[in-house]
């Protein structure tokens, strides 16, 4: 197997697109960047181009969130193929993901869900890691999770599970020191006991991040500075295990790049400082860390119970008092509720952010109710959560006026154009040497990030009215024709005439130019001929057509 020994890279950062202009301009002194694999596996265009430029200057490692190593579903072959394809292109120094599961029965909660630490789960996950490593042709590294609930079914500690998993699967470990702090706080474990039990020789990378302390529990928000107690734990890990590839994550409320770089500087400082900033944290244990299982519950049943609670929004569905270890001030139903809320808010925002004009047209209460109803009725199934909105217009149709529905269709299309593949626009030089005869036999392709629409209402005008800050009202019925597409990294809207739309739809259906034009001028429509040259000129100038190259 390749990559048996992972390279020593030094100090890195989680790459966030908002920092790209700064990175391009300043070429900061950072040893490597970690990318989120899923942001590039199912997306083309600007994101991939940015990644290509980044990797020209920095080593890259890939960090995934959707491998779902703990699920009982078969390995997701589409996911693995896309992951491997990305790895073949990016040539990362290593590939990582998490000890977690994201869903079963082909549902996806888009969360890093905890597994019960049982012998059955351990054997299952070890076997899957081996198969993933075989499929990728390289050793992977797995990260310890932040968790908000602990199963009563667990028969061993998290640290014992991770240690045995790494040895059994012969995989590497990504030690997220902040996650250790978060989980130890939430479950009242002892961080030193946790770290001491790990095979640190298998730790190839360390994550550091900030979090949000809610009092009763901590949420791993990655939206703040690393706290001193985590620096102390980081330093303790290095004392025991030697220097490790270390990286800072900052994923929300992202500050300017120099602020994040200061966290990296702190990591370097604490790695060599002669004293720790604090005492080693310790959370009062109210019980033994290992709670022998009082009943044996099949692994699949534990996962099904958790997912049922999350998808239904009903914590009682999983019998939390029976299945979750109670914590002082953090009851079992509150623990599972953390995941239930996260699922709904996450999917809500995915849609809400992408339909501002619809919101303006139908109002806050209506949009809230509509999105909530969609989430209740429609579990997400694809690892790319950006795809979740694709089914929204069809669901919303029965709840919206015809014009509002068409506005919803337009906004959904605009959202999805970002992830479409990149294609180069056809240029006049590409047509050099073409004759009218050869041109008639050509097939002109649309840009990949392009859709054409026929609407019953003036939807583009409605959308523009929203951009102009005007109050939206029900428009008069009036057919309209529209092309939306991505060109030079911006999404554009181009009004079309009806006959123009007809020619374009024939061309984009794959008809040769001659046949498409013949359809447009059938019946001796001489007036159309007058516009043909103008239309092609307009399509070329706006970059609608793709180069064959």
């Amino acid at each position: 197997m390749e990559n048996t020994n992972f390279p020593v890279l030094g100090y890195g950062l989680g790459f966030r697109p908002t920092h790209f202009p700064y990175i391009t301009a300043h070429k900061p002194d950072i040893d490597w960047f970690e990318i989120i694999s899923e942001n590039y596996m199912d997306a083309g265009g600007q994101q991939r181009r940015v990644l290509d430029e980044l990797r020209e200057h920095y080593p890259i490692v890939m960090h995934g969130v959707s491998l779902s190593i703990g699920t009982v579903d078969p390995l997701n072959s589409e996911y693995l193929q896309k992951l491997k394809a990305l790895a073949d292109q990016v040539q990362p120094k290593w590939i990582s993901d998490h000890l977690c599961w994201t869903g079963i029965a082909h549902k996806n909660t888009h969360d890093l869900l905890p597994v019960p630490y049982t012998e059955e789960a351990l054997a299952h996950i070890i076997e899957r890691i081996k198969r993933v490593q075989d499929a990728l042709g390289r050793r992977i590294i797995l990260e310890n999770p932040s968790t908000y609930l602990e199963f009563t079914a667990s028969s061993m500690s998290e640290w014992e599970f991770i240690a045995r998993m790494a040895e059994g699967a012969d995989c590497g470990l990504l030690l997220d020191v902040n996650n250790i702090y978060v989980s130890c706080y939430n479950h009242r474990w002892d961080p030193k006991t946790y770290i001491d039990a790990l095979p640190l020789s298998r730790v190839q990378q360390i994550h550091l991040a900030g979090h949000s302390n809610k009092g009763t529990h901590i949420v791993d928000t990655h939206d703040d500075h690393v706290i001193d107690e985590v620096w102390t734990m980081y330093r303790y890990v290095l004392e025991k295990g030697g220097l490790k590839n270390t990286m800072v994550e900052w994923d929300d409320k992202i500050p300017d790049f120099p602020i994040v770089m200061e966290e990296v500087a702190k990591a370097k400082h604490w790695a060599s400082a002669d004293h720790a900033p604090t005492e080693m944290p310790s959370f009062q244990s109210f019980r033994d860390n290992i709670r022998p299982s009082e009943q044996v519950t099949p692994y699949i049943e534990e996962l099904r119970n958790v997912q049922d609670a999350i998808l239904s929004g009903l914590s009682a569905n999983m019998q939390p008092d029976l299945r979750i270890v109670p914590k002082p001030d953090f009851a079992p139903d509150e623990q599972i509720q953390t995941y239930i809320d996260g699922y709904r808010y996450r999917l809500f925002d995915i849609i809400y952010d992408d339909v501002p004009a619809l919101l303006a047209m139908i109002g806050q209460d209506a949009i809230d109710n509509l999105i909530s109803a969609y989430i209740e009725a429609t579990p997400s199934t694809h690892f790319n959560v950006a795809r979740y909105i694709e089914g929204f217009p069809a669901f919303a149709r029965d709840h919206l006026s015809p014009s509002a529905y068409e506005l919803c269709v337009l906004e959904t299309a605009l959202s999805r154009l970002f992830d479409a593949d990149e294609t180069v626009a056809l240029m006049p030089d590409d047509m050099a040497g073409a004759t009218p005869e050869s041109f008639m036999d050509m097939v002109l392709r649309p840009r990949a990030a392009l859709k054409i629409f026929v609407f019953s209402y003036p939807v583009n005008a409605l959308y523009q009215a929203h951009l102009d800050g005007l109050e939206l009202s029900e428009p008069e019925k009036q057919p309209s024709f529209l092309c939306v597409y991505r060109h030079n990294d911006t999404i554009w809207r181009l009004d079309l005439e009806e006959r123009e739309y007809m020619v374009l739809s024939s061309l984009f259906a794959g008809l040769p130019v001659g046949e498409a034009l013949n359809a447009a001028i059938s019946g001796g429509d001489e007036t159309a001929m007058a516009y043909i040259g103008e239309w092609f000129s307009k399509w070329m100038g706006n970059g609608l057509l793709a180069s064959a190259a």
């Binding site: 966030r16 790209f20 202009p21 391009t24 942001n39 997306a43 994101q47 969130v65 959707s66 888009h110 969360d111 890093l112 991040a209 949000s212 949420v219 791993d220 990655h222 939206d223 994550e249 994923d251 929300d252 996260g342 808010y345 996450r346 995915i350 806050q364 959560v385 950006a386 970002f418 240029m427 006049p428 073409a434 009218p436 005869e437 041109f439 008639m440 959308y463 951009l467 060109h487 030079n488 990294d489 911006t490 999404i491 554009w492 809207r493 181009l494 001659g514 034009l517 013949n518 001028i521 001929m529 043909i532 040259g533 103008e534 239309w535 092609f536 000129s537 070329m540 100038g541 706006n542």
Partner: protein, 74 residues
């Protein structure tokens, strides 16, 4: 025969249109975008950035926390 002649005439006009390449006339889809310059290849447009963050934040770090409060207020 008439159709072929007519098609050749139309194709000539269409090809001339392609070679003439007209002006850019589309409208941006998001407020704050003013053509390609506003986001270029730099990944700086808010829309693009949000899109690229989706997979990460939604799964990785409980963006829900930030989003939770913003949604609860909605």
């Amino acid at each position: 025969m008439t159709t072929i002649i007519q098609n050749k005439k139309v194709a000539t006009m269409a090809l001339a249109g392609i070679l003439a390449m007209g002006a850019f006339s589309a409208a941006p889809a998001f407020a704050g975008h003013h053509g390609a310059n506003s986001c270029s290849a730099a990944g700086c447009s808010a829309k693009t950035e949000k899109s690229s963050c989706k997979a990460k934040t939604s799964c990785k770090d409980k963006t829900s926390c930030k989003s939770m409060s913003s949604c609860k207020d909605k």
